[in-house]
């Protein structure tokens, strides 16, 4: 049995449709049990891929074969639109949920004052504009089936000689009608989600992607040995190279931009995209994921379009380029793959038809039929739930009618068009909704009159420049009016309106229809008034993301007895829904007036079933008094937005003030600290000076008062006086040095000197005093000569100070001090270490603070150490810094205690001029 036999293909195709039924039924059952399978951003993104229809599946390759890279524009436009989704779609979802809106017609109608007329207009345009698109899907099914079964015989794909029951697509349309009635009209409330349907659509998206990628991979890697070979073959055929460039795009660069804009606008305006993106959205957060995942899907499904088109053109396939996807694998004798491709195309077509039909049938029933029945009072009088069945019945009839209309169009007109032509004509119709939609979302001033006139003008121009010329081309009208214009009026020629020639027909049609559409929408809105309901709705739409907008609180201000409202809801929605609406206020008497919130809930429930315009009419029939309290709403919106703005500014100001306050507090803290340091310094200086002075004074008084002291004692006392005087003058000298250092007035006499020589002198000077204190001094010179620039006296003072200091902090029992001098990079390091306890990490900077050492000693050192002024290290660091070097503390590498390291840069060669001493204030340099 052949894979391509009629029976096998039919069995597989209808088997596939049966599988869709199973998936949808499973999805619905899961939803009823509260375990939704569509609550995932990936499923949401896949359901948006219903955008890729049979037009994508077969037509993209055809378009690539004829007009080069322009097929990409149909997908780049939606990519841009999806990047905007976190802003635009989110807002639409928020509004649709709050107002229970069921379709794009309902959305536009609700935005412009729940206008019945506008809703009907949108539904009508959608019906006229989209029916050919449904026909296109059926045509694709018929053609692909014929190619699959008849190959290699050429198939005309015409239906002229065959009765409709022999056409498989008629039966497909009927099966789909059953599917859609089963899974698309389960609930009366059309704003409720069709979970089973969405699950089936997501599955279909996976099937068509898999099938397309399979045929793409087959073409590139089986027919050719990889893209390299394919493109090498293409490069040998100059005619094919032209297909790859902008020259192949109709209208060139301008046509490119026009088609991109068309795809962008159509994506936002297509009823089925509104259905899956807005009505079926279960979670606003899914939009964020879909914003990049859906474009990724588009990229994947387009990846092999160009290679397949090129392979087809290279002559391996032949026939209509729209069929390359099938004929390429068929040409190699493969059987399974063509069947998979057929199923992929079938899934692309049926997915589109299912969603589009649900969207259109909701529009037709809620925007066209029900308002007419309501107005004409044709609905039967009846009790509980009597009309609910009517509403559903109308919707089911609409489904059947739309699919049959699509089939009729396909059977009668379809042959005259290529897939691409039908698709783009429909796109241009859907694009007419986008201005009213987008402008209405962001400009409160747009009104019903403007939107209505704009849509009408756009629709008329679309029909004139695209739809009617199509009829002329298919021979239904005299083709002469295309070239000469109607009645010979040249400037009315459909493809060169007002003399605009040389553009591709879609850009041309888009330009004129959009100019009229947007121009009238804006212009008329600027010069006409809005009704109060329009103003309210405009405010609710434009401020939909307003954080404090609680739509439930904005109800009717009129007086409606609860009983009347209950009766109305009972009649249209049935007892169960009515009970749900009244559930929040169950215990009140039906003679009492209904609260505004209850009336609003009732209206939203009606809107979900009948559309916002009909719901409005019905509610108005029972509500007496003012409809909505518009001024109150506007003032809420205005005051809240003002308050929000004010709050925002206040927050900003208070943040600035807080920062300024913090800076002030820090400055104040610093001043206090400085003040405290000054006081401490003065206290310490006084203390330091008083100690030797007290001794001097005491001993001098003893010497004055006891003139008969023995000579040895007198001599001892005089020695003490002299020693303490020396200490006093040394202290005063140090304090003066420090003051000079800190004020930058310390004068140094820098000259070229040998640091090694200077260190030796320092060691000689300190050798004896250290030995006397029992300290072992070790010296290690790793550099024989260490030429640096420095003041010899001051540097010697530093070295002595470091040695003296190390001696004080060396180990108590076996004190050792070690001096090393070594070259380091372009300088010299003189390190003095001891074998004491060392200095803790966080203490290392503090030892360079004035008098720090005194505190250190007072902190309870294990042994009494020779006292110093506590000024040595700060002064040393100041001097070293003045000479361009550094002084810091680190762990002693050899002896294990503290190590003070002085680093000075190497002096330049002899002939270089000695540098001038730095004049900057010599505050102790931080590392």
């Amino acid at each position: 049995m052949s894979w391509r036999s009629e029976a096998t293909v039919l069995a597989v195709a209808f088997g596939y449709l049966a599988l869709l039924f199973l998936i949808a039924a499973w999805g619905d059952r899961r939803a009823e049990r509260g375990r939704s399978i569509i609550g995932s951003p990936t499923i949401y993104a896949l359901s948006i891929a219903v955008y890729c229809t049979a037009w994508t599946f077969y037509g993209s390759v055809g378009r690539a074969a004829e007009t080069g890279p322009s097929f990409l524009l149909i997908y780049l436009g939606p990519t841009l639109a999806m990047l905007l989704a976190p802003f635009v779609t989110r807002k639409m979802v928020r509004i649709a949920r709050a107002q229970r809106l069921t379709s794009i017609a309902d959305f536009i109608s609700a935005r412009y004052g729940k206008s019945t007329g506008l809703g009907a207009l949108v539904a009508l345009i959608a019906l006229v504009g989209i029916t050919p698109y449904i026909a296109l899907q059926l045509k694709a099914i018929t053609l692909s089936h014929a190619v699959l079964v008849d190959y290699p015989e050429a198939t005309g794909g015409t239906l002229e000689n065959a009765p409709f029951w022999a056409d498989k697509s008629f039966w497909v349309a009927l099966v789909l009608a059953v599917f859609i009635i089963l899974f698309g009209t389960r609930h009366l409330d059309a704003s409720e989600r069709h979970e089973g349907m969405v699950a089936a659509i997501a599955f279909e998206s996976l099937v068509k992607l898999t099938a397309f990628l399979a045929v793409g991979a087959f073409t590139v890697f089986v027919l050719y040995r990889g893209p390299g070979e394919l493109f090498a073959r293409v490069a040998e055929t100059p005619a094919l190279l032209e297909v790859l460039g902008l020259a192949a795009v109709p209208g060139g660069a301008l046509g490119w931009v026009g088609t991109l804009a068309l795809a962008f606008l159509a994506f936002l305006g297509l009823p089925r995209q509104f259905q899956v993106m807005v009505v079926e959205n279960v979670d606003e957060r899914h939009i964020t994921r879909a914003a990049w995942l859906f474009p990724l899907y588009l990229l994947a499904i387009n990846l092999f379009v160009m290679p397949i088109a090129l392979a087809g053109l290279l002559g391996d396939a032949g026939g209509n380029p729209d069929g390359f996807v099938l004929t390429l694998p068929l040409g190699t004798g493969a059987e399974g793959l063509p069947l998979l491709v057929f199923i992929g195309g079938l899934s692309a077509a049926t997915g589109m038809m299912i969603v589009e039909t649900i969207a259109l049938s909701t529009m037709v029933s809620n925007q066209l039929v029900m308002p007419l029945l309501l107005r004409a009072r044709l609905l039967p009088r009846g009790g509980q739930g009597a009309l609910a069945g009517w509403v559903l019945g109308v919707r089911r009839l609409a489904i059947l009618a739309i699919l049959l209309l699509g089939y009729g169009y396909h059977a009668l007109v379809g042959d005259a068009y290529s897939l691409v032509t039908i698709g783009l004509v429909s796109f241009a119709a859907a694009a007419q909704f986008t201005p009213a939609l987008l402008i209405g979302l962001y400009w409160r001033g747009a009104n019903r009159m403007g939107a209505g006139l704009g849509l009408t003008a756009g629709f008329v121009l679309w029909a004139w420049t695209l739809l009617i010329p199509g009829f002329a081309q298919s021979g239904w009208l005299d083709a002469g009016f295309l070239t000469q214009g109607p009645f010979g009026i040249e400037w009315l020629r459909p493809y060169a309106l007002f003399g605009l020639e040389g553009w591709d027909i879609y850009t041309h049609a888009l330009l004129w229809s959009l100019v009229a559409n947007v121009g009238l929408l804006v212009g008329v809105s600027l010069f006409t008034r809005q009704s109060s309901l329009e103003q309210t709705q405009a405010a609710l739409f434009t401020e939909a993301l307003h954080p404090r907008l609680d739509q439930a609180s904005l109800g009717h201000a009129g007086h409606t007895p609860r009983g009347e409202l209950r009766a109305l809801l009972d009649r249209y929605l049935g007892a169960a829904t009515t009970a749900r609406v009244f559930a929040e206020e169950p215990d009140q008497d039906d003679r009492h007036p209904a609260s505004p919130a209850l009336v609003a809930r009732g209206e939203r429930a009606l809107a979900g079933a009948l559309g916002s315009a009909s719901a409005r009419v019905l509610i108005d029939s029972v509500v007496r008094g003012e409809a909505l309290d518009l001024p109150a709403l506007l003032s809420i919106l205005d005051t809240t937005s003002e308050t929000l703005e004010m709050n925002r500014r206040l927050e900003q100001k208070s943040r600035e003030l807080e920062r300024a306050g913090e800076a002030l507090r820090e400055a104040n803290e610093r001043l206090r600290e400085l003040d405290r340091l000054k006081d401490e310094f003065v206290a310490m200086v006084s203390h330091e000076l008083r100690t030797p002075l007290t001794s001097i004074r005491a001993f001098a008084e003893i010497l004055r008062d006891h003139r008969d002291l023995p000579d040895d004692k007198r001599e001892h006392f005089l020695e003490v006086v002299v020693r303490e005087s020396q200490r006093l003058s040394r202290l005063i000298e140090e304090i003066l040095d420090l003051a000079r250092l800190e004020s930058g007035r310390l004068t140094l006499h820098p000259e070229r000197l040998d640091l090694a020589e200077l260190a030796r002198r320092g060691v000689e000077a300190m050798q004896r005093p250290l030995e006397e204190r029992g300290i072992t001094l070790e010296v290690a010179f790793e550099a024989d000569a260490a030429p640096v620039i420095g003041d010899p006296d001051r540097l010697e003072q530093v070295v002595i100070n470091l040695l003296d200091n190390a001696g004080k902090f060396a180990d108590a029992t076996a004190p050792r001090v070690r001096l090393t001098l070594a070259r380091h990079k372009r300088g010299f390091r003189l390190a003095v270490e001891d074998n004491g306890a060392g200095i803790a990490e966080d203490e290392r900077e503090r030892v360079f603070e004035k008098f720090h050492q005194i505190q250190h000693q007072d902190d309870g050192a294990p042994r009494a150490r020779p006292r110093g002024s506590g000024l040595g290290l700060p002064i040393s660091r100041g001097i070293v810094a003045h000479l361009g070097g550094r002084l810091w503390v680190e762990d002693a590498p050899t002896l294990g205690g503290a190590c003070l390291v002085m680093e000075l840069p190497e002096a330049p060669d002899d002939d270089a001029a000695p540098p001038t001493p730095p004049t900057a204030p010599a505050s102790p340099a931080a590392e």
């Binding site: 990409l72 841009l80 190279l241 460039g245 660069a253 990049w292 474009p295």
Partner: protein
């Protein structure tokens, strides 16, 4: 609510994508040879998607 900085980055990305997908930038790539235009559109497309994914998914963890 989307953080303001993420909104600004997303808007910048949309502007970048629009520039990459339209002439005159496309005309520049076309001069590189046959097929360069299609290839550059695919590369730009992939880059835009990658940036959007990074922006919208990474931002969630901020």
């Amino acid at each position: 609510m989307m953080p303001t900085r993420r909104k600004e980055r997303l808007i910048a990305l949309i502007i970048l994508a629009t520039l990459l997908f339209t002439p005159p930038l496309l005309l520049v790539t076309e001069r590189l040879g046959p097929g360069a235009l299609t290839l550059s559109v695919f590369l730009a497309w992939a880059a835009v998607i990658a940036l959007a994914a990074w922006l919208l998914e990474g931002g969630r963890r901020e």
